[in-house]
Amino acid sequence: MDGWFTTEEPYTLIGARCSACGTYVFPPRSGACPNPGCDGTDLEPAELSRRGRIWSYTENHYAPPAPYVAADPFEPYALAAVELEAEGLVILGQVAKGVMAADLEIGMEVEVDLQVLFTDDDGVEKWVWTWAPAAPSGGAR
């Protein structure tokens, strides 16, 4: 999804911010501010905080139906809903490959990374954001 995240390090999600009231929205959108008390129509792309804390998480043991492109053989993966404090958003994402539910807990700090979602019929890799355990503080911000 073009424009939902940066493709160069440090990776960040890109939402939109209303220039009138300052509220955020993810995925980015245009045309109308989601705040019903605001008449703003000017939503500007905004890079969101790289780090957040896990609000909740799960681990899927069955391959989802299409349009998900499941690996064959299917490998379980974790999902996390992560709260970004400054933006007041909770954003869902797959957790970095290899990090499973047993490795996670509510309140844990994670950061945005990218991984390959699937490789299409022409051999082109499609990328998506993931939540990865945050590097020790002092790491990339």
């Binding site: 993810f26 989802p64 869902l92």
Partner: protein, 400 residues
């Protein structure tokens, strides 16, 4: 409790839930005929037909009001067709209710039926990059059980619930379903059955998550004046006291299907009542009733853990105390306020456009004392609540 906006439920009808893959219209006709017979009303006398749509059965599913009118034989009746995901049936009921309360008609049919494919609910076909339902499947593999599991995990880590508490919901509902001829799964489950049930979305197992089913339900509803002319009295009739179709208030700060993110709380503070709390609140306000008045409830148990959420959203207990109610048997048959005495979605499997109507069928029959084997003794007020994708909440309250 005012009665100036009451309607009467004159008849109820259902096709048993199952998985046969036949044309959904076939199921709907069975439910329609049963409801008409129960109401003792002729099809040609129905003035308004409110259909609840199915989006997985082609054009006839999108125009359900018309589909069932033609199938039963065109009579020139007025119609509507509603889609509101899991709340479609309740929205169809609201459509009929508005017509009847406005005086445009005196008697109406509300009907929904579905045929469902096997497995997880998938979005309808085609590449639709702008559709949030397509996005969450394609980008994240975020199935419906994934969302239920996020809520269940919160219950465990924040409230101290255990997977066994969730299992007790299924055990309770399966016990009631044994006696309900319309339920698809009529086998009693035990806690031991959960150990061998595979994890779907941690911490939820297959037995924690509701299946998808074929099924159909129909109601005949009318104005009190029509009922009085027909029955001679309103004594003993089941009245619709409230139908609330409620959307969220910005900012919606709980992650809800099918959204990838919540609204932002950065600029506007969240409303005092969260979305699911507000669904029940609006119905209580309409009916002039509160949680203490409820004899029994049908709640949308898409997962076992979600049923516990509903106890709290309905005000049957404080937030975080839902598990105690199921542990203490408060919500079981014979308890203070039985919930899902029908067996719930866990025993039916979800037939989307029929499910909210089936909830009202069950409550009506409970209030009429017709639920042998799963009867809530002395039931006088029943509440049905559900929530569909894309911000569709609905709550219906019935009373004798």
């Amino acid at each position: 409790m005012s009665d100036d906006r009451d309607l009467v439920v004159l008849g109820t009808g259902m096709h048993p839930w199952g998985k046969w893959g036949r044309n959904f219209v076939e199921y709907g006709l069975v439910a329609a005929r049963e409801a008409l017979a129960d109401a003792d009303v002729a099809w040609r006398d129905i003035e308004f037909v409110a259909g609840a749509d199915t989006i997985r059965n082609g054009y006839p599913g999108f125009v359900s009001g018309s589909t069932f009118s033609q199938a039963l034989g065109w009579t020139g009746a007025q119609i509507s067709s509603s889609y509101a995901a899991c709340a479609s049936g309740a929205q169809a009921l609201q459509s009929a209710r508005a017509q009847l309360l406005a005086g445009f008609a005196d008697v109406a049919m509300v009907i929904g039926a579905d045929t469902t494919p096997k497995g997880f609910f998938a979005p309808v076909g085609g590449e639709r990059k702008e559709d949030p339902d397509w996005q969450r499947f394609h980008l994240l593999g975020a199935t419906n059980p994934s969302f239920f599991a996020l809520n269940a995990r919160r219950r465990i880590d924040v409230f101290g619930d255990t997977p066994e508490d969730f299992a007790m919901v299924k055990v309770k509902n399966s016990k009631a379903a044994v006696h309900n001829p319309y339920a698809r799964f009529r086998k009693e489950f035990t806690l031991e059955d959960f150990a061998s049930s595979p994890i779907v979305s941690d911490p939820l197992r297959l037995l924690d998550v509701c299946a998808t089913s074929d099924g159909a339900a129909a109601l005949i509803v009318c104005t009190p004046e029509y009922a009085k002319r027909k029955l001679g009295t309103l004594e003993g009739t089941v009245r619709i006291k409230a139908v609330a179709n409620t959307t969220p208030t910005y900012p919606q700060v709980r992650l809800e299907l099918p959204d990838i993110a919540t609204d932002s709380r950065a600029v506007v503070a969240p409303p005092a009542l969260g979305f699911k709390d507000s669904i029940a609140h609006n119905a209580y306000e309409q009916a002039g009733l509160g949680p203490d008045d409820i004899s029994c409830a049908e709640v949308y148990d898409l997962s076992t853990a979600l049923e516990l959420d509903w106890y709290e959203n309905l005000g049957l207990c404080a937030e975080g105390e839902g598990a105690k109610l199921v542990r203490d048997g408060v919500t079981a048959l014979g308890g203070r306020v039985p919930v899902n005495a029908s067996g719930g979605l866990s025993s039916f499997g979800e037939a989307i456009p029929a499910q909210a109507i089936a909830q009202v069928c069950e409550l009506t029959r409970q209030l009429q004392g017709r639920c042998e084997g799963h009867q809530v003794e002395g039931a006088s007020v029943g509440l049905a609540i559900n929530q569909g994708l894309f911000g569709h909440g609905s709550c219906t309250i019935l009373a004798t």
